[in-house]
């Protein structure tokens, strides 16, 4: 059961996340008041019994390293295996910038080689889910497939111009697959999570690279789907999931989890989500505080009005300030008389007295880290 390792690839395109990923990898994006995206991915792996998790880092990985540290929060700091941070490095063959998952895996061949586990689960990092990985692993082993892809039938997960889409028959076989179509025509969305044998992964990557291929899904998996000699399987994830690949989607995720039912489907009792601890005191509400339909983390001081918002640790809302439909990251400060609506404040952003800002849910205003408005 524990013969599985995890690899998280964090090199996705982040252009549509604008200022939010200027200084950090998508995986390090703060979400849901106290987490970062990668907390969900690593916790799923750890809850699924994985004790060896590698994080392939690409650019702006400082915040990611800072957050993950020794892996202690996920119990990945033991003497055997544990958390492996894999930053890009320059070698004669490798210029340090990966051109995709396959290139990234090739550059980390040594890590794959050194690991002992029979199976590898690979996950992307621009999405949030909380999966029973043990079920995926068992399903894969029982089916005898070469590769099993995790997918969802949630129509909200379909995107234009990007992603991989599948048609899956009743017994879990993939009968058709399309990669990055302009408009998806197949109802199952691949969730960038797959499982296969470590040896197979190594040989597929070697072969792909030797043939000048660089897109793992299009060049490797797609031909296998159409090859009758290969067995590519699919496992349905029936939980909740969100792509965090644009400011709009980032905003929507945070607003979605204000709903207690949705939140309950993401934060499951048997699949706890672990994160780095910051020792803050409980949130303090002032005499005239008004706070409704909001998630509030420890260390906040709320003296003004907060509606439909997500407040991260250490946020201060001054008396007379009004905050509606906002996401305010760690240590943000809204001064008195200021009124903000549909805004995303990055860490330590400050809204000065009486300032007024109103965004729109399809285009929330993003205030970058440390910016004073």
């Amino acid at each position: 059961m524990k013969d599985v390792m995890g690899v998280i690839y964090t090199g996705e395109n982040d252009a549509r996340l604008r200022e939010l990923t200027m200084l950090r990898a998508i995986a390090a994006l703060p979400v849901a008041g106290r987490y970062r995206i990668i907390d969900f991915l690593i916790s799923s792996m750890v809850n699924g019994g994985m004790r060896n998790v590698g994080v392939i880092m690409q650019k702006n990985y400082h915040s990611l390293m800072d957050h993950l540290g020794s892996g202690k929060e996920w119990d990945l700091h033991g003497k055997h295996d544990g958390l492996h941070l894999l930053p890009p490095f320059l070698t004669r063959e490798n210029v340090g910038v990966y051109s995709g998952l396959m290139d990234a895996l090739r550059s980390n061949t040594n890590y794959l080689l050194r690991s002992k586990q029979e199976y590898v689960v690979i996950s992307g990092s621009d999405l949030i889910y909380n999966a029973h990985m043990d079920q995926l692993i068992q399903y894969h082993i029982d089916s005898g497939a070469e590769i099993t892809l995790m997918y969802t039938r949630d129509p909200a997960m379909q995107r234009e111009d990007t992603g991989t889409y599948l048609t899956v028959d009743e017994s879990g076989n993939i009968t058709d697959m399309e990669v990055e179509p302009t408009h998806p025509t197949q109802e199952c969305t691949f969730m960038e999570v797959m499982i296969l044998k470590r040896d197979l992964l190594r040989s597929l990557v070697d072969r792909g690279v030797a043939h000048g291929q660089h897109d793992f899904m299009r060049d490797i998996v797609l031909p296998m789907v159409h090859n009758p000699g290969s067995h590519i399987n699919a496992w349905e994830y029936t939980g909740v999931a969100w792509w965090i690949d644009s400011v709009q989607n980032y905003f929507r995720f945070n607003m979605d989890i204000l709903d207690i039912g949705t939140r309950g489907k993401l934060f499951l009792d048997d699949l706890p989500v672990y994160t780095k601890v910051r020792d803050e005191m409980p949130a303090l509400y002032g005499d005239n505080a008004v706070c409704v339909n909001s998630l509030v983390a420890d260390g906040c001081i709320i003296e003004g009005t907060v509606e439909n918002s997500v407040l991260f640790r250490g946020v201060r809302i001054a008396p007379g300030a009004h905050v509606k439909n906002c996401i305010i990251m760690q240590d943000g400060h809204v001064h008195s008389g200021a009124s903000i609506e549909t805004c995303i404040l990055d860490k330590q952003a400050v809204i000065k007295r009486n300032a007024r800002l109103t965004g729109h849910s399809v285009y929330p205003i993003v205030i970058a880290k440390n910016v004073v408005v």
């Binding site: 934060f267 020792d279 409704v292 983390a297």
Partner: protein, 394 residues
Amino acid sequence: MMTKKTCVAMLLAGGQGSRLGILTKTVAKPAVPYGGKYRIIDFPLSNCTNSGIDTVGVLTQYQPLELNAYIGSGAPWDLDLSHGGVFVLPPYQKGKVGEWYRGTANAIYQNMAFIEQYHPDYVLILSGDHIYKMDYNAMLNFHIRHGADATIAVREVPWEEASRFGIMNTDTEDNIIEFEEKPKKPKSNKASMGVYIFTWEKLRQYLIDDEADKSSSNDFGKNIIPRMLADRQVMVAYSFDGYWKDVGTIESLWEANMDLLATPMPIDLHDKKWRIYARNTGYVPHYIAEGAKVVDSLVTEGSVIYGNVQHSVIFSGVRVEEGAEVRDAVIMPGAVVHRGAVVHRAIVAENAEVGAGCIVGEETGNIAVVGHAVKLPAGVKVTAGQQVDENTTF
């Protein structure tokens, strides 16, 4: 290899804290929850780590299970070290003899071997009874500067309360000339905080002598300190003027929680230079629902509020349902206040449930307590000062 620590701390956590009534029926007093996310022991442990004292023995005896689990490896306080760290020290068998800790001094006596491993110059003795932030290193420097054999931390208390404390009478140079336990007519208002620093070589000898004295009750306050004073050892009082609150009774525990809601907060828990560390629960941020009202309160991660919360301290994983009213109350981890219930001037202990429409506590009088994991049936009334446990019938 000789390994050395300048100062080792010994935390006396064995007391039952019987004045906390049903709150300490299943847990030791230092493990009692406080301030929304802490336990009492987080304060001395955080003070140690913030003061640079990284070797702490925690002497446990009464209901140690929860305390042991809470302390664990010591990681939350950065006390999981390869040399030093935090150690739970229960009484143990020695040869054919095994015995309980008979008194505070005896507890240290029985763990002399633990202390000697580190060859310390000084030993800091702490208790798990108070909420305070204190730099023990400043006190140690004071001890060294005065060339003292013992330094006792003191805090000025209101004169009318002085007769409830151990009182230190000092000269103008901070030398302790007399110690009076709960004097009827106090000559000073400098109360001992139960925080002592001893020069280890000295204390070691006094512990051995005290142990040999069959008439001794083996207590620091009753025996060791009076003995050292009688022998004219150099004993000085170290004055502390920060927030210091005994949480030894239901009323004082409740008051200490309410103190956190005063403006400005008398003990600054936001202080980033002196954080109070705690074992974190890993819950999601707390959720305040549409229609809920939360004012003048502390609320921590993992709780869900649908009702009305006023001037209260809400711990992790608490649920306050629609139409419920919580005022001037302390709701401990995992407790539930069901629909329409009113909790006022009360402490609801861990995992307790206040049934729909219950009324717990009153406008005046003593604090009402709903005990650990007690499930109050709907519509029940708990009066001021009443303590409800699983044997209470309605």
